[in-house]
């Protein structure tokens, strides 16, 4: 088990470097510069800029400098936002995305798991049909449709909640918008997983041994039934924490997802690389956590 974790942790380093190198290459291939705009700069100014940011050096030197910075976990200064370091931008804006992400994750888990479990226990009941229809709706209505509709109803008609921007009440709509899709997915996965487990031999054995239904469900069935859910929610949590571009745009949330997209359009290389490095490492760590948690949920899984 320990060697498995160490091996996986060590693997993260080369993986992250490959991701960063590829991203760097892609940025370099893209035409245009952080300073290119409708109004062209005089050649002398362009030269000064290139000198100031080391863009006049050969590419391998630039690559080396970039890698050296990243190894030291210092991503340098943003090119677009004069005088702001990438590290401080990450520190400042990740909490926004993480707050919304965690709240949405929690909401999705609570709603999704309970709806899925109840639906599986009362298969083919009204509740089952109703919750699964809702789940279907949640899956098929994308957030850029759901978000504006929620904003219209709760902000522009009822005046209950602000239509956008960061505030305590302003969190409600983006969290619901974000959670809807995940809750629907989790509900369907839970229901399917539970139905399968409830029909399996070891549950029948447990029941045959005379265990009461509560124990069967909570001690035996849920652990097995949730494996598909766990393998979905691990990466889902990473994705939610990373910030979601659409929801952040619609609700004007100053999160990382929005900034990430802008950094690509701005050709703000250090910022893009910093966010990519940060997110890719986070996603790899979450996947590791998911893999480890399988062992606790299902005694059949072994780490070799």
């Amino acid at each position: 088990m320990l060697s498995f974790i160490i091996r996986r942790l060590l693997l993260i380093v080369p993986m992250a470097l490959i991701v960063i190198t590829l991203t760097w290459g892609l940025i370099r291939i893209a035409p245009g510069n952080f300073y290119s705009a409708e109004k062209r700069l005089p050649a002398a100014v362009e030269e000064n800029i290139r000198k100031k940011y080391g863009l006049d050096k050969p590419w391998y030197q630039q690559y080396g400098m970039m890698m050296w910075n990243i190894v030291r976990l210092d991503f340098g200064d943003s090119l677009k936002y004069e005088g702001q370091s990438v590290n401080e931008i990450l520190r400042r804006h990740f909490p926004y995305s993480a707050t919304i992400g965690l709240l949405a994750y929690g909401l999705a888990l609570i709603v999704g798991l309970s709806a899925g479990i109840i639906a599986s226990l009362k298969q083919n009941s009204i509740f089952d049909y109703a919750s699964m229809s809702f789940a279907m709706l949640g899956l098929s209505v994308p957030s850029f449709v759901l978000g504006p509709i929620l904003a219209m109803i709760f902000s522009l008609w009822l005046f209950w909640l602000p239509p956008a921007r960061w505030s305590l009440t302003g969190l409600v709509l983006p969290v619901i918008t974000l959670a809807a899709l995940y809750a629907a997915y989790i509900a369907r996965l839970t229901r399917a997983g539970m139905l399968e487990v409830m029909r399996s031999d070891y549950i029948r054995t447990a029941r045959a041994k005379g265990l009461d239904e509560k124990t069967v469900l909570l001690r035996h069935a849920i652990r097995g039934g949730l494996i598909p859910v766990v393998s979905f929610t691990g990466p889902a949590l990473a994705a939610l924490l990373a910030g979601t571009i659409v929801v952040e745009k619609i609700f004007a949330i100053p999160g990382l997802g929005n900034i990430f997209i802008q950094s690509v359009f701005n050709r703000d290389e250090p910022l893009t690389l910093g966010i990519v490095a940060f997110l890719s490492i986070m996603i790899m760590l979450f996947n590791l956590v998911v893999d480890i948690s399988y062992g606790f949920l299902d005694p059949r899984i072994r780490y070799e």
Binding site: A30, P31, G32, N33, Y35, S36, A37, E38, K39, R40, L41, P42, A43, A44, V45, N48, I49, K52, K80, Y81, E82, G83, Q84, I89, R92, H93, P142, F144, V145, P148, I149, A151, M152, S155, L156, F159, P162, P163, A164, R165, W166, K249, I250, F251, A252, P254, N258, I259, Q262, F265, R267
Partner: protein, 820 residues
């Protein structure tokens, strides 16, 4: 998991927004959404994208400009309606007769937000800083009119020879006779210097310097080796006679022996003959091109120059090879000759490069021509005393005063910048000079400013503060506006599908012409659009009135300069147009048609004359011989750009029978291609004026390198504009510029399409806030009206109505300007 194409996403957003509008407009309310002002005296404004920096000298963006206008002040500020300069930190000013010098009289009560007084020295510092090459300001070229600003910003060097600076006159083909200028302000040492004949400036990079010198014989003579340059002739002679490196050997072989004859105590005559022989050797060919050059061990700078020459020659050879390949495909001898002409010769003889090499190789023997870096103190700005500031330009620039309202010329705090370096704009360090100071800043969310009690005119700042929100999404922007969370939104914020509904709120919707134009530029360097007649045919094939109707908010554009923005210039255009019409004897009717640039029949006729006959086929036109595979209409990807492109494509298909292929590109990719002229046919362009003078539009096609995007350059047009700018009578100047514009309209490097509209909303209780052509606001005029009876109504007429409070405030401000 989610793989929905951007296009379908966009369509969905439109459908949803249409649905929203449909639902929401059904109410009876006179107002769009909330009609309750906030209790506090703070304006809430959506300013668009997140500001790149709070340093006004660095960023040239418009969202930034609006924030800077609250935080920083300059010598002059914009008039809330006309954008003409009004007094700010300068209470009055004088303009020299040639309009190339300005003296500003500063207020003695100007203060930074930390209480430090603002004096002329702060302006001197601010101007010098703006041009600092290391600041890398992205808007600095606006200030290049200041004498030596461009040279300083471009790291150029003065040339000193025999203790005197070489002037531009010294190397000009025709020397401009010295003129006696009437005195303008106090005569100081600095003023004598800045008014002395303009010094020559040369590029810092040795290769560029060498190219500049090679192209001008008079300049080359200045760089010739003089006997006085030979610090130690004897040592030089000894070295090249005895050294074994190939350069010395080569020199020893090329220089006649009698020039190398002096063996001790060289006489002046011997030095003279050595200098002459050296000049001959230097001019005989490039040392850098010799076989032995690679074997030299070179000092760093000489090696860099050698590498640069090799790289440049390789670049030229590659370009020539590409041309050869192109020629191989051609058969028409005229076209082949044209291609041959565009080939570039390799860098050949290089007198200065050779001399530079010698200077580097023999540092103790041959002294270099003294090249003096331009320093901040050399710029044409001078604090005569604490309250008097003088600016000297390199040329007459009647529009310069209007330019001074730009953020590049606003005053910044030397004390904070020197203390905190690049971190001076952080909330804990920032010191500002405007009516407001920074209160809180949450990037990507909001930036809040509050009235600065230290501001000299704080009593006349009506708002307690302004909250700028960084929101870009149009639907989100409108939701925030409708819910009452914000009082006003940035320009261009209302999306096309909403406009018709929102325009009905005529107490709030502001639709006025902007000082910005949309046009398609032709690639005039590539056939088929290298022919102005064909360009004209394509322009005549577009119904601009229909386009403007289709776009709902724009006005048709028939010229280079947008009409309705510069009223005096519009009059000049009409007057000159009438003159031209009479000169050519064109009937009024035809002239109108000519000016309106829509005449499909004439367009088809031109196409026929050019060998692309248009046939009529059952009401449809066809032009099969036109090479549509060689052209495209390139635009950067946005929904509105696509709609315009498709509309115009349809117009040409309908009117000319030509279907131009469309090509869209991501914005920065598009810019890179367009600026390098890597497009076929046409490319979309948008230009917003930098200052309130038609020159900001006409200069788009001025000079060899310009922002017009067409690759157009016409010395005749340049001369017409130059002449106009030397004209001191404003009316006459406009007429001369109008002539230049009519000339440009004949050349037609671009198709004018539409004039931008302001297209934004404000709540009726926000007053003193006008939809001016630049969407730039002098915030101290803005106030919140609590009495609903006095709210703005029917804002269509807002620009023609006078607000007594604003008029009074303006009168008070302008009272200090005497006799202007």
């Amino acid at each position: 998991m989610k793989l929905i194409s951007l296009r379908s996403a966009r369509i969905a957003v439109y459908l949803v927004s249409l649905f929203l509008v449909g639902c929401s407009v059904s109410g009876e309310s006179k107002y769009f959404g909330s009609s309750k002002p906030h209790g506090d005296n703070v304006l809430r404004y959506i300013s668009g994208s997140e500001p790149a920096t709070l340093d006004p000298h660095v960023s040239g963006g418009q969202p930034e400009a609006r924030i800077y206008a609250s935080l920083y002040e300059g010598l002059v500020e914009v008039h809330p309606k006309t954008l003409q300069p009004i007094p700010a930190l300068a209470k009055s000013w004088e303009v020299s007769p040639k309009v190339d010098e300005f003296i500003f009289h500063l207020r003695n009560n100007g203060k930074f937000s930390d209480g430090t007084p603002i004096t002329a020295r702060d302006f001197e510092y601010s101007f010098r800083r703006a041009f600092d090459p290391e600041l890398t300001s992205q808007t600095v070229q606006l200030g290049y009119f200041v004498k030596y600003a461009e040279a300083y910003n471009g790291n150029q060097l003065f040339v000193e020879r025999d203790g005197k600076f070489v002037t531009e006159n010294d190397v000009a083909d025709e020397a401009v006779p010295a003129e006696t200028r009437p005195p303008f302000g106090p005569e100081t040492e600095f003023h004598k210097y800045i008014q002395s004949p303009t010094r020559l400036t040369l590029p810092e990079a040795p290769l560029k310097r060498a190219q500049a010198i090679e192209g001008n014989p008079k300049l080359k003579a200045i760089f010739a080796v003089r006997p006085s340059d030979l610090k130690d002739a004897l040592s030089f002679i000894r070295k090249i006679r005895t050294a074994t490196d190939p350069l010395s050997k080569n020199l020893a072989a090329t220089i006649p022996p009698d020039a190398l004859s002096c063996l001790e105590n060289c006489s002046d005559a011997a030095k003279q003959s050595l200098a002459e022989a050296l000049n001959k050797a230097l001019d005989s060919g490039s040392f850098f091109a010799q076989d032995w050059f690679a074997s030299l061990s070179l000092p760093k700078d000489a090696k860099a120059l050698g590498d640069a020459i090799v790289a440049e020659n390789k670049k030229r050879a590659d370009a020539n090879n590409a041309i050869d390949l192109e020629i191989a495909k051609l058969s028409d001898p005229a076209k082949i000759a044209e291609q041959e002409k565009s080939k570039k010769k390799p860098l050949g003889k290089f007198f200065y490069a050779n001399r530079f090499l010698l200077e580097q190789m023999f540092p103790d023997e041959l002294s270099p021509v003294s090249l003096v870096p331009i320093e901040p103190k050399d710029l044409g700005v001078e604090a005569i005393d604490d309250n008097t500031f003088r600016i000297t330009l390199r040329q007459s620039a009647p529009f310069f005063l209007g330019l001074l309202t730009h953020q590049l010329f606003r005053v910044v705090p030397q004390q904070a910048i020197e203390k905190y370096g690049k971190h001076w704009t952080r909330p804990e360090n920032i010191v500002t000079s405007g009516p407001f100071k920074l209160k809180e800043y949450h990037p990507y969310d909001r930036l809040v400013v509050e009235r600065d009690p230290n501001y000299w005119d704080a009593a006349n700042v009506h708002l307690d503060g302004i909250a700028f929100f960084a929101v870009e999404e149009q639907a989100t922007t409108l939701n925030l506006y409708k819910s009452g969370a914000v009082d006003a939104i940035q320009n261009h914020a209302v999306p096309a599908p909403w406009i018709e509904k929102i325009a009905a709120y005529n107490d709030e919707y502001l639709n006025f012409p902007e000082s910005a134009t949309a046009y398609y530029s032709f690639n005039v360097r590539k056939p088929p659009f290298d022919n102005p007649k064909l360009r004209r045919a394509f322009s005549l094939g577009i119904d601009r009135v229909a386009l403007a109707k289709f776009r709902k908010i724009t006005k048709p554009l028939y010229s280079i300069t947008p009409s309705g923005i510069f009223p005096e210039y519009d009059k000049a255009m009409a007057k000159v147009g009438e003159e031209i019409r009479k000169e050519r004897g064109i009937p009024t009717e035809d002239w109108d048609k000519y000016r309106r640039q829509f005449d499909p029949a004439a367009a088809r006729k031109i196409l026929g004359e050019l060998g692309f006959p248009v046939q009529e086929n059952g009401g449809n036109f066809e032009c099969p011989s036109f090479p549509t595979d060689r052209i495209a209409l390139t635009f950067n990807t946005t929904e509105s750009n696509r709609q315009i492109a498709e509309f115009i494509q349809a117009q040409w298909r309908q009117n000319l029978g030509i279907t131009v292929p469309l090509k869209n590109q991501e914005f920065k990719t598009f810019l890179a291609d367009r600026n390098a002229m890597r497009y076929d046919g046409l490319a979309q362009s948008l230009w917003s004026g930098d200052y309130m003078d038609p020159y900001t539009f006409l200069s788009l096609q001025y000079g060899e390198v310009n922002d017009g995007g067409a690759g157009f350059h016409d010395p005749r047009f340049d001369k017409m504009l130059d002449d106009a700018n030397y004209e001191l009578d404003p009316q006459k100047r406009f007429e001369m510029m109008a002539r230049a514009e009519y000339y440009l309209l004949e050349q037609l490097p671009s198709i004018p399409l539409t004039i931008n509209a302001t297209n934004w909303l404000k709540k009726p209780w926000i007053k003193g806030f006008y939809p001016n052509p630049g969407t730039l606001f002098p915030w101290k005029f803005v106030y919140i009206e609590r009495d609903p009876a006095k709210w703005d109504t029917d804002v269509e007429g807002i620009m023609d109505r006078d607000d007594p409070q604003v008029v009074e405030q303006l009168k008070q401000l302008e009272s200090t300007v005497g006799g202007q």
